[in-house]
Protein backbone atom coordinates (compact mmCIF):
# COMPACT_ATOMS: atom_id res chain seq x y z
CA UNK A 1 0.00 0.00 0.00
CA UNK A 2 1.36 3.41 -0.94
CA UNK A 3 2.18 5.70 1.99
CA UNK A 4 -0.59 8.18 2.63
CA UNK A 5 -0.08 11.76 1.60
CA UNK A 6 0.80 14.00 4.54
CA UNK A 7 -2.03 16.18 5.76
CA UNK A 8 -2.81 18.62 8.54
CA UNK A 9 -3.83 16.85 11.73
CA UNK A 10 -7.62 17.15 12.16
CA UNK A 11 -7.18 18.16 15.81
CA UNK A 12 -5.16 21.17 14.66
CA UNK A 13 -7.88 22.18 12.23
CA UNK A 14 -10.51 21.77 14.94
CA UNK A 15 -8.47 23.80 17.40
CA UNK A 16 -8.76 26.97 15.34
CA UNK A 17 -5.22 27.84 16.41
CA UNK A 18 -4.18 29.94 13.41
CA UNK A 19 -0.45 29.80 14.15
CA UNK A 20 -0.52 26.01 14.46
CA UNK A 21 -2.64 25.62 11.30
CA UNK A 22 -0.23 27.80 9.33
CA UNK A 23 2.74 25.81 10.59
CA UNK A 24 1.04 22.49 9.77
CA UNK A 25 0.16 23.71 6.27
CA UNK A 26 3.76 24.78 5.66
CA UNK A 27 4.96 21.36 6.83
CA UNK A 28 2.57 19.56 4.50
CA UNK A 29 3.66 21.73 1.58
CA UNK A 30 7.33 21.29 2.29
CA UNK A 31 6.88 17.53 2.38
CA UNK A 32 4.75 17.25 -0.74
CA UNK A 33 6.52 19.88 -2.86
CA UNK A 34 10.29 19.54 -2.58
CA UNK A 35 10.93 23.08 -3.67
CA UNK A 36 13.95 24.96 -2.36
CA UNK A 37 13.97 28.68 -2.30
CA UNK A 38 16.36 30.84 -4.23
CA UNK A 39 19.09 32.92 -2.76
CA UNK A 40 20.31 36.30 -3.93
CA UNK A 41 23.84 37.30 -3.06
CA UNK A 42 24.36 40.95 -2.27
CA UNK A 43 27.81 42.45 -2.19
CA UNK A 44 29.25 41.60 1.22
CA UNK A 45 31.52 39.41 3.23
CA UNK A 46 29.46 36.22 2.89
CA UNK A 47 29.34 36.66 -0.88
CA UNK A 48 33.10 37.16 -0.94
CA UNK A 49 33.47 33.99 1.14
CA UNK A 50 31.26 32.04 -1.29
CA UNK A 51 33.24 33.23 -4.33
CA UNK A 52 36.49 32.37 -2.63
CA UNK A 53 35.21 28.94 -1.52
CA UNK A 54 34.20 27.94 -5.01
CA UNK A 55 37.08 29.54 -6.93
CA UNK A 56 39.32 26.42 -6.83
CA UNK A 57 36.51 24.43 -8.46
CA UNK A 58 35.63 26.92 -11.19
CA UNK A 59 36.64 24.39 -13.87
CA UNK A 60 33.62 22.26 -12.96
CA UNK A 61 30.73 23.34 -15.20
CA UNK A 62 28.09 23.41 -12.41
CA UNK A 63 30.37 25.46 -10.18
CA UNK A 64 31.29 27.80 -13.02
CA UNK A 65 27.62 28.44 -13.65
CA UNK A 66 27.01 29.05 -9.96
CA UNK A 67 29.92 31.49 -9.71
CA UNK A 68 28.62 33.38 -12.74
CA UNK A 69 25.21 33.76 -11.13
CA UNK A 70 26.67 34.95 -7.84
CA UNK A 71 28.87 37.47 -9.64
CA UNK A 72 25.97 38.75 -11.75
CA UNK A 73 23.78 38.95 -8.61
CA UNK A 74 21.25 36.60 -10.15
CA UNK A 75 19.04 34.30 -8.10
CA UNK A 76 20.82 31.11 -7.12
CA UNK A 77 19.05 27.83 -6.45
CA UNK A 78 19.45 27.31 -2.69
CA UNK A 79 19.45 23.56 -3.12
CA UNK A 80 22.23 23.52 -5.70
CA UNK A 81 24.30 26.00 -3.70
CA UNK A 82 24.02 23.88 -0.58
CA UNK A 83 24.81 20.67 -2.45
CA UNK A 84 27.82 22.05 -4.33
CA UNK A 85 29.21 23.53 -1.14
CA UNK A 86 29.02 20.22 0.68
CA UNK A 87 30.50 18.22 -2.17
CA UNK A 88 33.26 20.50 -3.50
CA UNK A 89 34.11 23.03 -0.79
CA UNK A 90 33.82 20.63 2.14
CA UNK A 91 34.56 17.42 0.26
CA UNK A 92 31.66 15.49 1.73
CA UNK A 93 30.58 12.17 0.33
CA UNK A 94 27.09 13.00 -0.84
CA UNK A 95 26.08 10.68 -3.65
CA UNK A 96 23.58 12.94 -5.32
CA UNK A 97 21.83 16.24 -4.75
CA UNK A 98 18.83 14.23 -3.66
CA UNK A 99 20.67 13.23 -0.48
CA UNK A 100 19.78 16.68 0.85
CA UNK A 101 16.12 16.10 0.10
CA UNK A 102 16.41 12.76 1.85
CA UNK A 103 17.80 14.48 4.96
CA UNK A 104 14.99 16.97 4.83
CA UNK A 105 12.36 14.28 4.49
CA UNK A 106 13.88 12.09 7.20
CA UNK A 107 13.60 15.04 9.56
CA UNK A 108 10.04 15.89 8.66
CA UNK A 109 8.87 12.29 8.61
CA UNK A 110 10.15 11.68 12.12
CA UNK A 111 7.00 11.83 14.27
CA UNK A 112 9.12 12.67 17.31
CA UNK A 113 10.67 15.64 15.55
CA UNK A 114 9.80 18.97 17.09
CA UNK A 115 8.98 22.41 15.85
CA UNK A 116 10.89 25.07 17.75
CA UNK A 117 8.95 28.03 19.08
CA UNK A 118 9.35 30.72 16.38
CA UNK A 119 10.91 33.94 17.63
CA UNK A 120 8.39 36.08 15.80
CA UNK A 121 5.32 35.78 13.61
CA UNK A 122 7.52 35.98 10.52
CA UNK A 123 10.48 33.80 11.54
CA UNK A 124 11.27 30.70 9.59
CA UNK A 125 10.25 27.37 11.06
CA UNK A 126 12.93 25.18 12.59
CA UNK A 127 12.26 21.46 12.82
CA UNK A 128 14.64 19.29 14.78
CA UNK A 129 14.92 15.51 14.73
CA UNK A 130 16.98 14.15 17.61
CA UNK A 131 16.80 10.72 15.99
CA UNK A 132 18.74 11.94 12.95
CA UNK A 133 20.37 14.95 14.63
CA UNK A 134 19.24 17.13 11.77
CA UNK A 135 17.84 20.64 11.79
CA UNK A 136 15.57 21.52 8.87
CA UNK A 137 14.76 25.14 8.14
CA UNK A 138 11.69 26.07 6.14
CA UNK A 139 10.04 29.25 5.05
CA UNK A 140 6.52 30.03 6.12
CA UNK A 141 5.58 29.67 2.47
CA UNK A 142 6.56 26.00 2.65
CA UNK A 143 9.87 26.27 0.78
CA UNK A 144 12.90 24.35 1.93
CA UNK A 145 15.71 26.63 3.07
CA UNK A 146 18.38 24.48 4.66
CA UNK A 147 19.11 21.23 6.40
CA UNK A 148 22.17 20.64 8.49
CA UNK A 149 23.43 18.55 11.37
CA UNK A 150 22.83 19.89 14.85
CA UNK A 151 23.42 18.60 18.36
CA UNK A 152 20.00 19.80 19.51
CA UNK A 153 21.36 22.02 22.26
CA UNK A 154 20.09 25.55 22.78
CA UNK A 155 17.66 25.40 19.90
CA UNK A 156 15.01 27.21 21.88
CA UNK A 157 11.76 26.05 23.40
CA UNK A 158 9.87 23.20 21.79
CA UNK A 159 6.57 24.49 20.41
CA UNK A 160 4.92 21.37 18.95
CA UNK A 161 5.78 17.85 17.97
CA UNK A 162 5.32 17.12 14.31
CA UNK A 163 3.02 14.25 15.20
CA UNK A 164 0.62 16.76 16.75
CA UNK A 165 0.57 18.90 13.62
CA UNK A 166 0.53 16.55 10.67
CA UNK A 167 -0.47 12.99 9.86
Amino acid sequence: MAPSRPRVHPDVLRSGDTAAIQAAEALVKVLTTPHWGTKKFKAGNKTRQALSDFAPFAHIPQVKQLLGKIQRRELVDGFLFHYLKRVYVEGEALNAPDDLNRWFEQTLNDPQAVLIQPKSATSRYLVYSSRYQLLAVLDRSGERVSVHKHDGQTLGDVWKTLASLIL
Binding site: G44, N45, F81, K85, R86, L135, V145, H150, L155
Partner: protein
Protein backbone atom coordinates in the same frame (compact mmCIF):
# COMPACT_ATOMS: atom_id res chain seq x y z
CA UNK B 1 31.86 19.02 14.63
CA UNK B 2 28.58 20.84 15.31
CA UNK B 3 30.23 24.23 15.18
CA UNK B 4 31.43 23.49 11.66
CA UNK B 5 27.91 22.65 10.50
CA UNK B 6 26.60 25.87 12.00
CA UNK B 7 29.28 28.05 10.42
CA UNK B 8 29.38 26.35 7.03
CA UNK B 9 25.67 25.75 6.53
CA UNK B 10 23.61 27.42 9.24
CA UNK B 11 25.17 30.79 8.55
CA UNK B 12 23.95 30.75 4.93
CA UNK B 13 20.46 31.48 6.24
CA UNK B 14 21.68 32.83 9.59
CA UNK B 15 20.01 29.90 11.30
CA UNK B 16 22.60 29.33 13.99
CA UNK B 17 20.85 28.49 17.27
CA UNK B 18 23.33 27.42 19.91
CA UNK B 19 26.41 28.38 17.90
CA UNK B 20 28.08 30.05 20.90
CA UNK B 21 27.51 27.02 23.11
CA UNK B 22 28.92 24.86 20.31
CA UNK B 23 31.99 27.10 20.25
CA UNK B 24 32.28 26.59 24.01
CA UNK B 25 32.34 22.83 23.45
CA UNK B 26 35.17 23.21 20.95
CA UNK B 27 37.11 25.31 23.43
CA UNK B 28 36.98 22.41 25.89
CA UNK B 29 38.25 19.89 23.33
CA UNK B 30 41.80 18.90 22.61
CA UNK B 31 42.53 19.68 18.96
CA UNK B 32 45.20 18.29 16.70
CA UNK B 33 47.03 20.81 14.55
CA UNK B 34 44.81 20.16 11.52
CA UNK B 35 41.67 20.53 13.61
CA UNK B 36 43.00 23.76 15.05
CA UNK B 37 43.57 25.07 11.53
CA UNK B 38 39.99 24.19 10.63
CA UNK B 39 38.72 25.92 13.77
CA UNK B 40 40.71 29.05 12.92
CA UNK B 41 39.14 29.05 9.46
CA UNK B 42 35.63 28.68 10.91
CA UNK B 43 36.21 31.42 13.47
CA UNK B 44 37.39 33.71 10.68
CA UNK B 45 34.24 33.05 8.67
CA UNK B 46 32.03 33.84 11.64
CA UNK B 47 33.83 37.03 12.61
CA UNK B 48 34.11 38.16 8.98
CA UNK B 49 30.35 37.75 8.53
CA UNK B 50 29.59 39.52 11.81
CA UNK B 51 31.78 42.45 10.77
CA UNK B 52 29.74 43.03 7.61
CA UNK B 53 27.62 45.99 8.65
CA UNK B 54 25.67 45.82 5.39
CA UNK B 55 24.40 42.38 6.31
CA UNK B 56 21.13 43.20 8.04
CA UNK B 57 20.13 39.57 8.50
CA UNK B 58 22.48 38.87 11.39
CA UNK B 59 20.13 37.66 14.14
CA UNK B 60 19.66 40.09 17.02
CA UNK B 61 20.08 37.38 19.65
CA UNK B 62 23.51 36.52 18.27
CA UNK B 63 24.54 40.11 18.86
CA UNK B 64 23.30 40.12 22.44
CA UNK B 65 26.47 39.79 24.44
CA UNK B 66 26.72 37.83 27.65
CA UNK B 67 28.69 39.85 30.22
CA UNK B 68 28.77 36.86 32.59
CA UNK B 69 31.19 35.10 30.25
CA UNK B 70 34.92 35.84 30.35
CA UNK B 71 35.77 38.74 28.05
CA UNK B 72 38.37 36.64 26.27
CA UNK B 73 35.64 34.33 24.98
CA UNK B 74 35.02 36.59 22.04
CA UNK B 75 32.13 34.51 20.67
CA UNK B 76 29.99 35.76 23.55
CA UNK B 77 30.79 39.37 22.51
CA UNK B 78 29.77 39.38 18.88
CA UNK B 79 27.73 42.53 19.46
CA UNK B 80 30.84 44.34 20.67
CA UNK B 81 32.86 42.93 17.81
CA UNK B 82 30.32 44.19 15.28
CA UNK B 83 30.26 47.58 16.97
CA UNK B 84 34.07 47.73 17.01
CA UNK B 85 34.19 48.13 20.78
CA UNK B 86 35.72 44.77 21.67
CA UNK B 87 39.35 44.98 22.87
CA UNK B 88 41.33 43.81 19.84
CA UNK B 89 44.25 42.58 21.94
CA UNK B 90 42.06 39.80 23.35
CA UNK B 91 41.49 38.28 19.94
CA UNK B 92 43.81 35.63 18.52
CA UNK B 93 46.03 37.04 15.73
CA UNK B 94 44.02 35.59 12.82
CA UNK B 95 40.85 37.26 14.09
CA UNK B 96 42.61 40.47 15.04
CA UNK B 97 43.78 40.77 11.44
CA UNK B 98 40.16 40.83 10.33
CA UNK B 99 38.87 42.94 13.18
CA UNK B 100 41.34 45.81 13.31
CA UNK B 101 40.66 47.18 9.80
CA UNK B 102 36.90 46.90 10.37
CA UNK B 103 37.26 48.54 13.76
CA UNK B 104 39.17 51.43 12.21
CA UNK B 105 36.60 51.80 9.45
CA UNK B 106 33.78 51.90 12.01
CA UNK B 107 35.54 54.52 14.15
Amino acid sequence: MWYREAVMYGMDSWTVPGIREQRDDVMRSFLERQQQALLDRLDCRLVDAILDLDDDEVPDDLLQDDPTRPLAQWWWRLGQIRAGTYPAELLPPHLRALYRPAQRAAA
